[in-house]
């Protein structure tokens, strides 16, 4: 089984990389990009039976820094 973890900076935390992406898109002539936020995706290959609660714990302890980041978990 697999889990896909999305980690994003929380709203209100400055995202200089997202801002640079937004700026670059505008400079390339793509109009109407009002904002860009950049995050990361971690795909986990898990032993069968691994619970979503266990993946949440992995997020809390390592994959996300909850001072600045939020995360979502998709199990599949």
């Amino acid at each position: 089984m697999k889990a896909r973890v999305h980690v994003m900076l929380k709203n209100g935390v400055l995202d200089p990389q997202g801002e640079a992406v937004r700026h670059a898109l505008g400079a390339m002539g793509f109009d109407g990009v009002n904002g860009a936020r950049q995050g990361k995706v971690v795909e986990l290959d898990l032993a069968n039976g691994t619970t979503e609660a266990a993946v949440n714990e992995m997020c809390e302890k390592l994959l996300a820094n909850t001072v600045i980041e939020s995360y979502t978990v998709e199990m599949s």
């Binding site: 900076l9 935390v13 400055l14 200089p16 990389q17 390592l62 994959l63 820094n65 001072v67 600045i68």
Partner: protein
């Protein structure tokens, strides 16, 4: 004074930090990240600058979960002294020993230059040989030194006299111009600038010397 300098894969200021401690009169033990115990009688733990674990995932995140960091946390929890410089500050923030986090520099660039720091408090073992309001010149060398914490935390740090240093000319977007902060008991210092790189005339500056010299004599083992 017995100092333990932690060495992670990718640390690159561990020896500089060891030399700064030794010059201030300390005995220094270099401690590998896989060790599960600090040497007996350690007065202060130093977490050095560098790029522990290649800065993978987040700066300091993997180092913060290495075996020795449980011991570092326990040492700090029982009132021990610890200093984290640059990547070491990022590690202390990731362990939760110090509040907040270090984000990518607002200008997105890695910055390596000497900057001015305002000494904000002299009420700590680290800063007692400086005067409040004094400006010292200390090098920075980081890509992720943009200090962030929520407004409430920043207000608490300021209200409790726990901001050690601020930048005279904010280079990285850090909230409140914060360059270094102290724990509630003032025994743990995290700072992005490198005082160990301004601790010998050969470095081109000696403004960091007073920080290490102040430590000798005041420290007690925890």
């Amino acid at each position: 004074m017995h100092a333990a300098v932690i060495v992670f894969p990718g640390s690159n200021c561990d020896r500089d930090l060891a030399v700064a401690f030794e010059t201030a009169g300390a005995k220094v033990s270099l401690v590998w990240h896989k060790d599960t115990k600090l040497p007996d009688g350690v007065d202060i733990v130093g977490l050095p600058g560098g790029f522990s674990f290649g800065d993978y995932l987040r700066c300091g995140a993997i180092a913060a979960n290495s075996p020795i960091c449980n011991e570092v946390k326990a040492h700090a929890d029982r009132g021990g002294y610890a200093i984290g410089i640059c990547n070491g500050f990022q590690v202390l923030a990731e362990t939760g020993v110090l509040p907040g986090a270090l984000l990518r520099n607002a200008g997105l660039k890695y910055i390596c230059k000497t900057v001015g720091l305002n000494v904000v408090t002299s009420q700590s073992a680290y800063t007692e040989r400086y005067s409040v309001g004094e400006v010292i010149d200390i090098p920075i060398a980081h890509h992720d030194g943009n200090y962030f914490a929520d407004d409430e935390t920043i207000a608490r740090l300021q209200g409790e006299d726990r901001v050690a240093f601020t930048y005279t000319d904010n280079p990285n977007g850090a909230k409140g111009d914060i360059a270094g902060i102290l724990s509630a008991n003032k025994r743990v210092l995290g700072m992005m600038p490198h005082p160990e790189r301004a601790a010998d005339a050969g470095h081109g500056g000696t403004d960091g010397q007073a920080l290490f010299r102040a430590l000798s004599g005041v420290l007690t083992p925890a």
